[in-house]
Symmetry: C2
């Protein structure tokens, strides 16, 4: 039950490490932390395909410390985690397709890196507070809706398997070593600084890109699949709250929104904003295999503890996103 003031107070002059801090969600988190006067260190491998981009933090470049390295390289994490009060672990890759094409890489950056992080914290900074971002993809094809945290686990791609293992590492190290760690399962997050020029960060982003470029949108499988969307500012606020809420430690929570939209709804909003055309097309074979049908989650468990709920609805969030990308057109729409 924290207001903006209390959140900011919790981070003021605190040392915070953000892995993946040059990426989409990571950079938005960094901006919020700098605003709260935290002392921020960014660890990022600066891999373009994973969303890393120095430009994302250009506005606060002189107020943060940036380490360009791969969190999954042995030895990288230990010196960086020492002395940190908070560690937000967002580094990794989130493309489902890439994880199937290169499972070796996905295992390394999503699973092994996380194991090394909790292990380094256990050994060298056991009082640090950790937040790990995971994905609704661990549930696979929903057996009921909305999906809550008790829903059976059934990852439908390599990314889901490795992110799940990463979650378990956090929970285990809380249980066994009392590490203060919380896991948030994110659903479709969108907004400023998202890498929208490809579909690696999900359909929400690439649709914004195509709409703003005047390219027609293709809705695989009819477009009536339901999804829930979170504007990135809401996700950042959830992370900041979760990390300072002791009742969250050792637990896994869904984020989510109060309304599910079909992809057709989503495109209709983009059409209002960008006047784009869209059409439904059949599923290509390779995507059909990892399609999960309708998905929307319940964030009730997280809300009950923290009072968090999203504030920015999809109309407003897409308007803000289009506005941002229009202003930084040469950077994100090139």
């Amino acid at each position: 039950m924290m207001n903006e003031r209390a959140i900011a107070d919790a981070y003021r002059h605190k040392r915070v490490l953000v892995t993946g801090g040059l990426g989409f969600i990571g950079s938005n988190l960094v901006l919020a932390l700098v605003e709260a006067q935290a002392e921020v260190t960014i660890l990022d491998a600066l891999i373009r395909e994973h969303g890393g981009d120095m430009y994302n933090v250009a506005a606060v470049r002189d107020k943060v410390s940036i380490e360009v390295a791969d969190a999954s390289d042995p030895g990288v994490l230990t010196p960086l985690i020492k002395g940190q009060h908070y560690i937000f672990h967002l580094a990794g890759q989130m493309s489902h397709g890439d994880s199937m094409r290169n499972p070796e890489l996905d295992l390394r950056v999503n699973c092994a890196a996380t194991m090394r992080l909790v292990e380094a914290c256990r050994a060298h900074n056991p009082s640090a507070i950790l937040l790990n971002t995971s994905t609704r993809q661990v549930y696979g094809r929903p057996k009921y809706l909305p999906v809550n945290e008790d829903h059976p686990i059934d990852p439908v791609d390599v990314n889901g398997i490795n992110k799940l293992a990463a979650e378990y590492y956090h929970v285990l190290y809380n249980r066994v070593y009392d590490l203060k760690s919380v896991v948030l399962r994110l659903t479709n997050t969108y907004g400023p600084r998202q890498q929208i020029s490809n579909d690696r960060q999900g359909v929400a982003g690439i649709f914004i890109y195509r709409a703003m470029k005047g390219l027609p949108l293709k809705l695989f499988g009819g477009g009536d699949q339901l999804r829930d969307f979170n504007y990135v500012d809401d996700v950042v606020r959830a992370m900041l709250i979760a990390a300072v809420t002791p009742q969250c430690y050792g637990r896994v929570f869904n984020l989510g929104s109060d309304r599910a939209y079909s992809l057709l709804d989503y495109c209709a909003i983009l059409k209002k904003l960008c006047n784009v055309e869209y059409e439904a097309v059949p599923f290509p074979e390779d995507k059909k295999l990892i399609d999960i049908g309708d998905y929307y989650g319940s964030y009730e468990r997280f809300r009950r503890i923290t009072d968090w709920s999203p504030r920015v609805d999809l109309d407003e969030g897409l308007r803000l996103s289009v506005e941002f990308f229009d202003e930084h057109r040469d950077r994100y729409l090139a």
Copy 2:
């Protein structure tokens, strides 16, 4: 519903790779496969702590091909899996304590190696039949008994996390690439060729060792914890059946037995056989953390499909085990 004859027929003159084939269960499987006239290749890193021992297959040494290498080393698996009809993946480490002390190693040998195996099969031998051994440890502390496959997953140690990820890799590669793969979750397996001189392969083994050495047995936590035990021959038969039963592919099954025994029961049988003393002692702190209380599983799902059920009860199995270890005393009781 296969009798011994039909099982043997299925493997005669077939090429079979057994990873971990110099270990406890692996070597027993190798002996059964040689008996069935299969052409067996063993891949084993020959790590003493993981149970690897050339002596385990001494009786068939000239009838099998042995490759000493680590399945988790990139490049090792690809040449070996080519042309195999069956691949039994038993390599790995199963010590819960070791996995907590060295999570890096556990991740490599249990999770990464499995990912590399299914990936190599997808690319180079997609028609091979795979069997993967997992562990009841993925369930964690039982929420109900007997534990069936619908029981929630909640690994209580690093080993459980990595074995779980390995399971998901097998299931995923079946679903997406149609790899013929089956996963068996083993419970406490015991019997000839087990590494009994330490507790890495479970309490069943070290108790046999101590009983045969005349050393008193210590029952942590009172000894009334229930467990189910499988004699290794029953486990080997389950594996041989599962791999040739197409209805099993893409699925995960418990093994188990028809009766749960307390550790006190277990010791009482050993006392009859070896006249050993035993006593209940409090849990040491480091073991308490990963203790799971009572556990016994249901193997009903596997039985319905295959008609498998264990044939050797605990009295008989322990008698056979003690007989074997007595005969090979200088090797297993040194």
